[in-house]
Assembly symmetry: C2
Homo-oligomer: 276 residues x 2
């Protein structure tokens, strides 16, 4: 157990992991380089620990020592007690959730290793919005996806905002990054026995409700706005669409992902096989 230590000086080097949390550009560079990420709030901290991430340190205000008593008792990491005003000076914002943990990143698994034990995989292309990444992980976890693969230009699922929006789902769904895009869709994903579906609103795509989901499937999702690139669509086995009414031409990416995750696990009655 670590004895909580009060820290009064916002410039104290022991608080270095938590500085300038609102500077997105800075933190995006620093966190992967230093091998850390920030978990915010009791629930998310507990979920990170339960997923086996090692805690580097805790930063919290006095009143959170009781709620997190068991976490403090079980850790060897330093526990820094700070006044809310000090926390705000260090981080750059008012820490509503009262507790932050600096957690140690783990090496990501190789995509092939991840695929070996999976049947339903979500693959994101160029999703570089932290809120969307987090929302998609939350839905992927809830709706039965076994793993997530990211194109090289996707945002970091362990960035604070992604973690928070995912409600910790980034810890429970394993993920990996593909290195060569979109070539690895063939060389890695299809090579592992996966049928690759590309989600698009295009009229000429196969209606998801008319699909018999293949045994092992990878579902490609593009970013809000541009959607999947033509290259990624061409690298897929089948382009699929969610049927839409009221002349609506698209859903937001979070809603589309959620519906598609549900649909591939819950085929509609009267379904037809995938066209060859």
């Amino acid at each position: 157990m670590a004895e909580p230590v009060t820290v009064d000086d916002p410039a104290d080097p022991r608080l270095a992991d938590y500085t300038s949390l609102t500077d997105v550009e800075l933190r995006r560079r620093r966190e992967p380089a230093e091998g850390l990420f920030i978990a915010e709030g009791e629930k998310v901290i507990r979920r990170a620990l339960a997923a086996g991430y090692r805690m580097r340190s805790l930063l919290l205000s006095e009143k959170w020592t009781e709620a997190l008593g068991d976490v403090i008792a079980a850790t060897d990491a330093p526990v820094h007690l700070v006044e809310p005003a000090v926390a705000e000076q260090v981080t750059g914002y008012h820490v509503h959730r009262g507790a932050l943990a600096s957690m140690e990143r783990r090496p990501l698994p190789a995509p092939a290793e991840l695929l070996a034990g999976a049947r339903r995989v979500a693959v994101m292309e160029a999703v570089n919005d932290h809120t969307n990444i987090g929302a998609i992980f939350r839905s992927a976890a809830a709706l039965g996806m076994d793993a997530v693969l990211l194109s090289p230009d996707c945002a970091d699922p362990l960035y604070r905002r992604s973690v928070k929006v995912s409600m910790g789902a980034v810890f429970s769904v394993p993920y990996a990054r593909l290195e060569r895009w979109p070539h690895d869709l063939d060389g890695v994903v299809r090579a592992a026995g996966f049928h690759v579906l590309a989600l698009t609103p295009a009229e000429d795509a196969v209606d998801l409700t008319a699909l018999t989901p293949p045994d092992r499937l990878a579902l490609l999702l593009g970013a809000e706005g541009p959607g999947l690139t033509q290259r990624a669509q061409r690298a897929a086995d089948t382009r699929v669409r969610i049927p839409m009414s009221h002349d609506v031409d698209s859903l937001n990416v979070g809603a589309a992902a959620a519906v598609a995750f549900y649909a591939v696990s819950h085929p509609v009655s009267g379904r037809a096989p995938i066209p060859e």
Copy 2:
């Protein structure tokens, strides 16, 4: 056709509809009281007009007169040309989309009138976040819901942010407000022949995938966080849940709504009837 008129003075009373658009509290009071709402950007303005809303006036920068030439030619409403800096002084923000329209509200239909022609209805309870309202309307429109009913404390679907997030879907799905909550679920909705489903993550609710959707159904959705009140759940015929994996306990309200809209229109093979 209205001849566009350049307005240089941000205090010009002809621009009064557009003042202080970033002051949410002020606009929430003013817009319903004055019978107007603001449509932002070419696409949303065109959708509002296509849905039959009358335009009170247009405010745009010079370079948008060409793209909106046909709209300007077809309207009798005054067209105000302003420099971007003037637009910013009036509205309080930089108007990226270059064009704003002040549109006239219409009286909402009575709920009973709306229900007469509908089979699938979304009912929101206390959804008071404009982004969530907009996102749910967009999904409702895309995924086959015929109408939306709002509890008295839901936010305004015609507030600028809701309209924008919905991509104009608030114009294409008819909606109405229930007056007595939750009593009208019985007196109005069930009285019109609708089976009322309440969406909840509770373990003891009926799995949506095991449901044979009734002919006419109303799907109740609660706000992010608290979810549906106990009162609303008791007023429903059947409590239903989306099955979840990875120990996830909930979805965000936008994702949950989208999945539920899809699920009630696309029953899963091997489904069972609703328990009585």
